[in-house]
């Protein structure tokens, strides 16, 4: 028996756009990873916290086009497709947007590309607003990006999805793919968490006492 899943429709260029830059992307790999944390610091959590990441490895369609190449129009459909693909994978793990409390995003650009190529996808409404909408959030999505060889590690920050600046939700998740990105590829990342950090207890901006820099006086002596 063979699995019935087929994603051939995702691999190919965009219909009618195969001769354009945005039609020159290709999807090589999808990796979905979840981390369930059951205990921390020797104490069992009341319920496990799950972090989920979905990664897509695509061909960088802007390789060879130089820094004059526009990055406003050509990423639109690619970014929207990736938002749909990655968000669906995450929702399949969490069981819906209601379980998601924090989110993040990222890109690892292969060595032949520009950092701007990753930004062209993740820092656009076609990617970020779609993720926000599907995950039922409002906040600006935390991000990390880097350029590196295959197997490069990216630590993606997550923030609370409604207002962003809620300290108990500040957390990160580590991602890497051993054989990606190739020099002419980009790895795109969407990340979500079903909870806060385990046992958060550092307060927040409403409970911090007022301080000034005098607390640092003498710190180097």
């Amino acid at each position: 028996m063979k699995p019935t899943k087929s994603y051939a429709h995702l691999l190919t260029g965009l219909d009618g756009f195969n001769q354009t830059i945005e039609g020159q992307w290709g999807l090589r790999k999808i990796v979905v990873q979840q981390t369930e944390t059951h205990s921390e610091g020797g104490s069992k959590l009341p319920k496990p916290i799950t972090q989920v990441t979905a990664l897509a490895v695509i061909q960088n369609p802007w390789i060879g086009h130089g820094t004059d190449c526009e990055l406003i129009n050509s990423p639109q459909r690619i970014a929207a497709r990736l938002a749909k693909l990655l968000s669906e994978r995450i929702l399949a793990v969490t069981g819906g947007a209601g379980a998601i409390q924090a989110f993040g995003k990222g890109a690892i650009i292969g060595e032949s590309g520009e950092l701007e190529h990753g930004a062209a996808i993740i820092h656009t409404p076609y990617f970020a607003s779609n993720l926000r909408s599907v995950f039922e959030g409002d906040a600006v999505i935390s991000f990390a990006d880097t350029r590196g060889p295959a197997g490069e590690i990216l630590v993606v920050p997550l923030c609370e999805k409604r207002t962003g600046v809620v300290r108990d939700y500040y957390q990160t998740v580590r991602v890497s793919i051993p054989d990606a990105p190739r020099p002419e590829e980009i790895v795109l990342v969407a990340a979500a968490s079903t909870g806060q950090r385990p046992f958060p207890r550092v307060g927040d901006r409403t409970t911090d006492r007022l301080i000034d820099t005098s607390l640092m006086n003498g710190a180097t002596e």
Binding site: M1, K2, T4, K5, L11, T35, T37, R174
Partner: protein
């Protein structure tokens, strides 16, 4: 069994060598991170009580999880035991090289062969390769494959990370001669 984390990874390959892989090639890995049952006890001669307290439960947990994650009939499989820096490789081997651990996976996969394995000692978050082979015929070349994984923050020095891997197919674009048909080969 003191469980700290469970990792689940599903990798889908849609293209290899520039050609579409259709249906997509799927591999799933599930790893559990537990406290080393022998942590802090010095050299323990008889590992069987510790093995019996953990291995069966681990086998049931991981095999059910990895079969669900793969979401397709299992054609190839493998296992891993990664012991943290304070432990012995024998501790990881003890947990995975037992029928209590392996049989639940063989049952779910309708498998008959031994599970290929990696056993090593490692710091947290380091990469390791899990070998996979066909579930009923270890000579089936098309299904010899490996998946590299690394899980952040595990295993700690007094922990063991135990993993199962399952693939829904052989290598993407596999096209080698079958075992025993190489020119001049005598088997």
């Amino acid at each position: 069994m003191k469980l700290r984390k469970v990792f689940t990874l599903v990798e889908e390959t849609l293209e290899e060598g520039g050609e579409a892989v259709d249906p997509v090639a799927r591999i799933a890995v599930v790893a559990a991170v537990i406290e080393n049952p022998w942590a802090g006890k010095g050299f323990v001669e008889d590992l069987t009580p510790g093995i019996d307290s953990v291995a069966g439960e681990l086998g049931l947990l991981l095999s059910a999880r990895v079969a669900a994650a793969l979401d397709a009939p299992i054609e190839a499989y493998g296992k891993a035991g990664i012991v943290g820096l304070n432990g012995e490789i024998e501790h990881a081997s003890g947990l995975i090289h037992t029928l209590q651990f392996g049989n639940p996976f063989r049952d779910i996969a309708s498998a008959t062969t031994l599970l290929p394995a990696v056993e090593k000692r490692s710091g947290a978050g380091r990469g390791f390769d899990i070998p996979l082979k066909h579930i009923t015929d270890m000579k089936l070349r098309s299904h010899h494959q490996t998946i590299e994984v690394s899980f952040a923050d595990a295993p700690h020095a007094d922990e063991i990370l135990i993993a199962l891997a399952a693939a829904a197919q052989g290598r993407p674009k596999q096209r080698l001669r079958t075992f025993g048909t190489d020119p001049g080969a005598t088997v």
